[in-house]
Amino acid sequence: MFEILEKKSLNPTVTLMKINAPRVAKKAEPGQFIILRTDDNGERIPLTIADYDRIAGTITIIFQIVGATTEKLNHMNEGDCLHDFVGPLGRATETDGLKKVAVVGGGVGCAIAYPVAKKLHELGVEVHSVVGFRNKDLVILEDEFRNASAKFVLMSDDGTAGEKGLVTDALRKLIESGEKYDRVITIGPLIMMKFVCALTKEYNIPTVASMNPIMIDGTGMCGGCRLTVGGETKFACVDGPEFDGHLIDFDEAMARSASYREFERKAHEDTCNLFKEVGKNA
């Protein structure tokens, strides 16, 4: 079984868990993801691998509590077991030949951006990390990013952490100041990645965006995760999750990500109410 060995709250809406999954840990690489189910009646949700330890046989996941399943997951504790945990799925981040890279993360996407930054740093790549959050309470992995980056810029929407502004403001400044990147890797909300890609296109910097669409099986079977890249339909689960950011149809991806928003909102509400009831009766 896939035991939760460690649970840590990174901020009020983001939780880290270390899961016992030796087979997955043996193969995991940054950029890949897993799919889990909390219980026998649960939905399958994909989460990008935040870290792995091949010797201990563990996988670290970091998730934002946004829906019914992440709510349920967050109510599980150390010692509990996940019902299902499969991976590593998708393709690993390509790191060959890179010398200087800007890693641009937003919100909980930073949890996925961090292992990429770390791996590049370990490979001797000069990493500049630009991370953005809404406010200081939501900042995660700041020290970890600092340790893996030659340059680190923290941005917040309201200016309560780091500089006030968007990650694109900071990235533009770095580029304008003469930093020459072989590649920009961006992971975060779709709208943020869309604007990061629009910016790097202006400067002709190759850019990779990590997509996290709705999916079921994660092995190429359902096609639910399809997106348009350079006019062609791709499956994020097997062709990605990382794609050439300059070719992704972000508007379509944003529309698709909203397919079940109403259902998800209600399911999350129901789950929250359920936990409130349980709390009351306990």
Binding site: I216, C222, G223, S259
Partner: protein
């Protein structure tokens, strides 16, 4: 008991169409004991057993039917399971009308013996009896891996286990059964039956490791080099959905049949307490004419949609089983023939609004031997829809090919294997849809059994 010379089969009781099209319970209810014995007495027990030649796994059909006629149902079960690992499944989903029953002498004048319904009766009766009674055979010390827990994998695993092999089946999803679990709907094949058959295999000693994606979690090379598996059977099926590559296919509300059916069958999205959403809309259009299209259409109907199947040829060319088409029609599914989608239109919010179709006509037969549909110039119409389900076929998943050294495949992705299932890699066998492209449950089982025999020989002579 005298022979029953009735020209027609005993009808199988079914749920009434306007009742069943609102629930997911099984449509066909199965014979009673009386009906089964009566039907068994229609069999003439021919000496040359033509029916057996029509069975991909060569069940001794007259022998099991003779036992049914005598009321020896357990004996009948034993005869069937000598050849088939999944009788309750095959009794339901085999296209008997083109296989065993097509060869039945009684079919020359009148209807053939209802072999499928009898198989189903025998298996269900056995399964209802009690706990699985199969004894675990003595181990012969050899290890074999089976990739995929669909029909070919289960058949292969069952035959190897019966011979004493230590068999592990690897399944990518969280539930075993492959297409039997994620694809074929509950109302045609109850999932409890699939699980019961799998429990039967486990009782024979077969291990099933779910949540393991071969090629990602572990590779075939590693299974053989590091984990001590002497042979591997690839029964990974044809699970990659095809799309038409027409504008609007990525709109919200457009599904592959695989996704639509997986949400419903595997994830139980039709149940009110499911955490997996499904949107069948109010007007659903299913594109395609195979069994999967019928399944998708009938599911959408049960979820409350008004459903239309569009197919580019005519009713005569429908690849689906006649029985499935009949059931679909009875349940109120509409059909639009000679109709080929060219574009899916969108609402302002990026949802499906309709599907623009071109009117077709039939011309000369194409490579498949079926009359080729050609467009009638300028003849377009739009069907209103808020859900579109693409059911135009699947291809083998490239994952295993791309992660297994020296495994040769066809251009279209099918694994190349000889008549015994041997691939271009020593000790690696393959069968079922992964080799042939999408076909039937029973053909896949036949391939799994053949490969099991070849794997047995290989391991014994190594």
């Amino acid at each position: 008991m005298p022979k029953n010379m009735s020209l027609t089969k005993n009808e199988m009781p079914v749920q009434a169409p306007d009742v069943r099209n609102k629930n997911f319970s099984e449509v066909a209810l199965g014979y009673t004991e009386e009906q089964a014995i009566d039907e068994a007495n229609r069999c003439l027990n021919c000496n040359n057993k033509p029916c057996v030649t029509g069975c991909p796994v060569q069940i001794d059909i007259p022998a099991f039917i003779a036992e049914v006629a005598q009321g020896n149902f357990e004996e009948a079960y034993k005869i069937i399971t000598k050849s088939s690992s999944l009788p309750a499944v095959c009794g339901r989903v085999c296209p008997q009308e083109t296989q065993c029953e097509s060869k039945c002498v009684r079919g020359i004048k009148g209807e053939p013996v209802a072999i499928g319904r009898l198989e189903r009766y025998v298996a269900d009766r056995h399964n209802a009896l009690a706990e699985t009674t199969s004894e675990k055979p003595a181990s012969n010390g050899h290890k074999a891996a089976v990739i995929g827990s669909g029909p070919s994998g289960l058949a292969c695993a069952g035959d190897l286990a019966k011979k004493g092999y230590d068999v592990t089946v690897f399944e990518a999803l969280h539930v075993a059964g492959g297409v039997l679990s994620y694809g074929i709907p509950e109302f045609r094949l109850p999932k409890s039956i699939v699980q019961k058959e799998i429990e039967g295999l486990k009782a024979l000693g077969v291990k099933v490791e779910t949540n393991t994606v071969i090629g990602k979690s572990v590779s075939i090379d590693e299974l053989m080099k590091e984990e001590g598996f002497e042979t591997v059977f690839i029964g990974s099926g044809a699970g990659l959905p095809r799309f038409m590559k027409i504008p609007g296919e990525n709109l919200n509300g457009v599904y592959s049949a695989n996704e639509f059916l997986t949400r419903i069958n595997l994830m139980k999205a039709y149940k009110p307490d499911s955490t997996t959403p499904i949107n069948a809309g109010t007007k659903a259009v299913v594109v395609g004419g195979g069994n999967v299209a019928m399944d998708a259409a009938r599911c959408a109907k049960r979820l409350g949609a008004d459903v239309t199947i569009v197919y580019r040829r005519t009713e005569n060319e429908l690849p689906a089983r006649a029985e499935e088409v009949e059931h679909a029609k009875e349940e109120g599914i509409n059909f639009r023939f000679l109709t080929n989608p060219v574009e899916i239109t969108a609402t302002e919010k990026g949802w499906v609004k309709g599907i623009v179709c071109q009117q077709m006509e039939l011309s000369e037969p194409d490579a498949s031997g079926r009359a080729k549909p050609v467009p009638i110039e300028g003849a377009f119409s739009e069907i209103e829809a808020d859900c579109v389900i693409m059911s135009i076929g699947t291809s083998p998943n490239p994952l295993i090919k791309s992660t297994t050294s020296g495994l040769d495949t066809q251009k279209w992705g099918g694994i190349i294997a000889d008549e015994n299932g041997l691939t271009s890699r020593e000790g690696v066998y393959a069968g079922g849809d992964a080799v042939t492209g999408a076909a039937t449950v029973i053909l896949a089982m036949g391939a799994g059994k053949k490969a099991a025999a070849a794997m047995d020989e290989y391991m014994q002579n190594k």
